[in-house]
Chain length 245, copies 2
């Protein structure tokens, strides 16, 4: 189609990086590209903590569930939903602030995600690779303390960025017709589409260049739903000022 | 830097569109580019409702708070957080499903945002313009009924897409140093940075090519915090199966 669309379609998570550094100037350019993303009512409710400290990197790698890419990447960025900055700005301008609405959680989490995805695209456009690290939400309280995050700020996910030392296969996605509906949500064909995609993923897992296994999409999803997934999140968010009210 | 990064940095919301249609083939290509984005544990927790029905478009424009771009764009897409498809897939594979965790809300909302931002970048790369419509969350229950969204699915935001009929200025963003911290969150300079940015936005609002006003960033933020912002969201999400537990 065009080089940008080809880039978007060729994304794969990179978890092994060369020793080549990124450099602060390029990193700032990636963040500026990130900031170009849409932001709800211009609220700009995202902050990033760039973690260069080796001990903090190693601790974050543990807190994320033992992910070597966190310590082994050129740059590790923690994308934070940040309602503190806009709230305090509004308060200084005279607003009598009402904090902690569920909507504030959504606005700031979505703002962080839009900005991060632009950073990801920008990074890949200059030959870098990356992996989102949702595992920071395994231990969000400890991550928050380590990075001295105040109330109204929480770590949504991390991103390990660097020059790729491997080139994994692009993982298949559901067909467009399985996720794109017209005028109404109609999942009458979903079970059939998922069965076909399970076969696609089964073949992919057997054939891919590393970490082969016999599995399927549905099989891989089971652990996400058979436990109370990150059951600490509600209490954590409430405690940190995202009152879910 | 390179054309992709220039594209990311030149985003502006487009709210007026020509009559030129997009075409289903190109639309599907944009969605495929969207699907290339990262997805938490490959859960692919996003569905899109493409609204072509004129009456539904007009109703959505009202529900979003009277936004003419919703009815006046070539394509209007409603991005939905969708935990129904992966949950039911896991259940069919034998999982004893635990639904409605706060973490499920985060995973699916973030998945939807990452996918949407890739669609946005892809659209702009072929000369289209777009505007996110968070206003759908003004009336999420009515939107859900109109589009027949089932439980475990909610409308995160809409996106109006089409060929631009205006070319607004690019809105300034906070400087990189105001949002990028190193090793720890340190907002000791934030008040000063925001004051400078208030001046930047004041000058921008006075000088921009349309809709001039005398305001600042902090002034514009006040309405987001002086009311219980979208106070219905918690009850709505609970009712729709995102139990916030």
């Amino acid at each position: 189609m065009n080089p940008t669309i080809e880039l978007l379609k060729s994304h794969r998570s990179i978890r092994k990086f060369t020793d080549q550094p990124i450099g602060t100037e390029l990193l700032h350019e990636l963040v500026r590209a990130g900031q170009g993303a849409s932001t709800s009512n211009h609220v700009q409710a995202c902050s990033i903590v760039r973690v260069t400290d080796v001990a903090k990197r190693e601790r974050l790698a543990e807190l994320a569930g033992g992910q070597a890419s966190v310590s082994g990447c050129a740059e590790f960025l923690v994308f934070c939903a940040d309602m503190k900055r806009p709230m305090e700005a509004a308060a200084r301008a005279g607003a009598d602030v009402v904090a902690g609405m569920t909507e504030h959680l959504l606005v700031s989490s979505i703002d962080a995600a839009l900005l991060a995805q632009n950073v990801a695209v920008a990074a890949e456009s200059v030959g870098l690779g990356l992996c989102y690290i949702g595992g920071l939400r395994n231990n969000p309280q400890e991550v928050s303390e380590l990075l001295e995050l105040p109330d109204q700020v929480y770590p949504v996910f991390g991103m390990a960025v660097g020059y790729p030392a491997h080139q994994p296969d692009v993982k298949p996605r559901l067909p467009v017709e399985a996720i794109l509906f017209v005028n109404r949500y109609d999942d009458s064909r979903t079970a059939e589409q998922v069965a076909a995609f399970d076969q696609t993923m089964h073949d992919y897992y057997l054939a891919r260049s590393s970490n082969n296994k016999s599995s399927s999409w549905s099989e891989q999803l089971k652990p996400l739903f058979t436990v109370k997934l990150r059951a600490h999140m509600k209490e954590f968010l409430n405690k940190r000022g995202f009152g879910l009210r």
